[in-house]
């Protein structure tokens, strides 16, 4: 049996979404390489939303999909709870094919397994905060008392206690999105779908809500698909990130992989401005101690500061500031490498010139 954490909760298998009447023809034309996206738009009157997207999200994982507007990320996330039907491919949730479900089975899945947060909040203006939050339970016919209790817990969790009887138009944007978050977690779903939840908020409130969200997700351990156009947000929040461009998932990987090894120029351009300080680990920039000793002769490492391979550049900078020596990287008391000042500076720049031992002058 698989362990809980390795099991894929969401699995997308070759999902295509082409808008237009000639969708099937358009897919064939693209896969065979006959036509470009522009030709398809002009000749077949079709728009390609998502192109052959495959990925899976493990239980408890936060999976960020990052792309600019029009890249198809919002279309892709709507396939997971089948708000949009795929043209080809299939989506599985806990092993069940979402696209094969009947109407009532699908509604049950949506109400009990999946919570969704929207960029434009999409709260119901004629319902107060409590009734908005309890909506998923209400449509499943939960008794009034239970709805109240569950809604109260969710409202408390997003720090909105005392606002239960207010209406959405009496709340600020940030508070409205807290209600959206509370509504999504109220029915205690397995999966959270976040469609650019914080994009419409101003930076300060966005940070606050990111904080609230990360705290909640650490407590509740939900499997999350998080859409954003902000790479920094994706890096801060995501366990893994998928970069999407023109409907294609260009690269899928951990934040560190994306930043240090971009798959193509498009991704590279994106990550160029990203600070590596809190992303890149010592393990990535260290060189074997032997190389160092080859270049500088054996040295007494007793006075050198020591860090772990998982320590981020930020920590290394703090250590480097206080000494003239290189930093020794040790795991479980065993020396595994060394980080010189120039390697550290290169790491901050995002370059990896550690492949060969370079003669270093200190």
């Amino acid at each position: 049996m698989k362990t809980q954490s390795e099991e894929a909760v969401i699995r997308c298998d070759g999902v295509w979404k082409v808008f237009g009447a000639n969708a099937k023809k358009a897919i064939k034309a693209i896969t065979s390489g006959e036509m470009t996206k522009v030709e398809i738009r002009d000749k077949l009157d079709c728009v390609v939303g998502v192109r052959d997207a495959s990925f899976s999200v493990a239980r408890g994982e936060i999976f960020c999909i990052m792309g600019l507007s029009g890249s198809g990320k919002s279309t892709l996330i709507r396939h997971i709870n089948r708000l949009i039907e795929p043209t080809a491919g299939a989506i599985y949730i806990e092993g069940r094919n979402v696209n094969a479900m009947g109407a009532s089975e699908l509604r049950q899945l949506r109400a009990e397994k999946i919570g969704m947060v929207f960029q434009n909040m999409a709260l119901m203006p004629h319902r107060n905060v409590r009734d908005n939050v309890a909506f998923a339970l209400e449509v499943r016919g939960a008794p009034e008392e239970k709805r109240r209790k569950v809604a109260q817990d969710a409202i408390d969790a997003v720090e909105l206690s005392g606002w239960e009887l207010k209406y959405p138009d009496e709340l600020s944007g940030g508070m409205q999105q807290r209600v959206g978050l509370a509504r999504a977690i109220a029915a205690d779903p397995t999966i959270l779908l976040m469609d650019e939840p914080f994009s419409a908020l101003d930076p300060l409130i966005r940070r606050q809500l990111q904080g609230t969200f990360m705290q909640l997700s650490a407590e509740l351990h939900k499997t999350t698909v998080f859409i954003t156009h902000d790479l920094e947000e994706a890096i801060r929040i995501g366990d893994r990130i998928a970069i999407m461009k023109d409907g294609v998932l260009v690269q899928v990987g951990t934040p560190e992989e994306i930043v240090t090894r971009p798959a193509d120029d498009y991704v590279a351009e994106f990550v160029a401005g990203i600070s590596k300080l809190d992303l890149v680990t010592a393990a990535r920039i260290m060189q074997p101690l032997a190389w160092y000793q080859q270049a500088h002769g054996s040295a007494n490492t007793a006075a050198w500061p020591v860090a772990a391979p998982t320590d981020k550049l930020n920590t290394l900078v703090d250590l480097a500031v206080g000494t003239e020596h290189p930093i020794l990287i040790a795991a479980d008391g065993v020396t595994v490498g060394v980080v010189t000042k120039s390697a550290l500076l290169r790491g901050i720049q995002g370059r990896e010139d550690i492949a060969q031992p370079l003669p270093e002058v200190i």
């Binding site: 709870n81 708000l83 949506r110 929207f118 998923a136 499943r140």
Partner: protein, 311 residues
Amino acid sequence: METSFNWLDPFGSINLNIGEWADGIKGWAMSNRPLIQPIKSFFETIIQSIEGALQTVPPLIMLILLVLIAWQAAGRRVALLVLVCLTVLGLLDPTAWSLAMTTLAIVISSVLICVLIGLPLGVLAGKSDGFEQAMRPGLDTMQTIPAFVYLVPVVMLIGIGNVSGVIVTIIFALPPLVRLTSLGIRNVNPHVVEAARAFGATPRQILFKVELPLATPTILAGLNQTIMLSLSMVVIASMISVRGLGNEVLRAMGRLDAGKAIVGGLGIVMLAIVLDRITQGLGRSGRDRGHRPWWQTGPVGLIANLFYKPA
């Protein structure tokens, strides 16, 4: 009779006998009156029970009732206006109040049936583009065709009297309710509907918990229009022997009696103002009312607060 076909004036040479054909339908209908009878008696019952109720209540009690309704629906200022209008109406002539109640009964019956027909049609039209397209020519015809055109066949089928009056009024007053219901449903924020779907709502729950509540102000604007149009039909309907204020105006025209005309005319205006302000008050959004439920405002709120203190 014509021996040659005139190409320059083809319409003069062709006679499709549409008039006779229509007459034929009329003849069929008149010989099959028993079929129409149940419909007629259904309408008759509605109108009579409403009028009966309105006429039995003493004018002063009715006046107070209407003022309280106005207060509840639209606030104190409108209640005051309604009080003034109704007093003026009553003082116009000793018979004016009773005539107004008869007219009100016709209007209420028509509007009631308009809502029963118009609301479902409007919801369907709001949900389906095809249905909306199909409805449009019908609604256009109902609104633009002169009332006199369908006055005759309706009378032929059903005879003169209140029932014909109500049917004629429905034909004229129904379209805005259908149109505005459809518009209201179409204008509901699609993101909110999507959210409702995403949380597992059934189509019926989406309609009743999201779309209809959010479309309510627009639907009530349509209801307001329907009421106003019904009221504007009372004079024309009086030609087929519908009693009430309209009949006063019609008789005054026949006799060049300015006094009667003013009583009838002003009476209709007063009634129109009262109905308009009350229904407009209903259409205010929750935000305008400060998000208090209806039972916490107006006279009901006063009484409710005596027994129940919100926590």
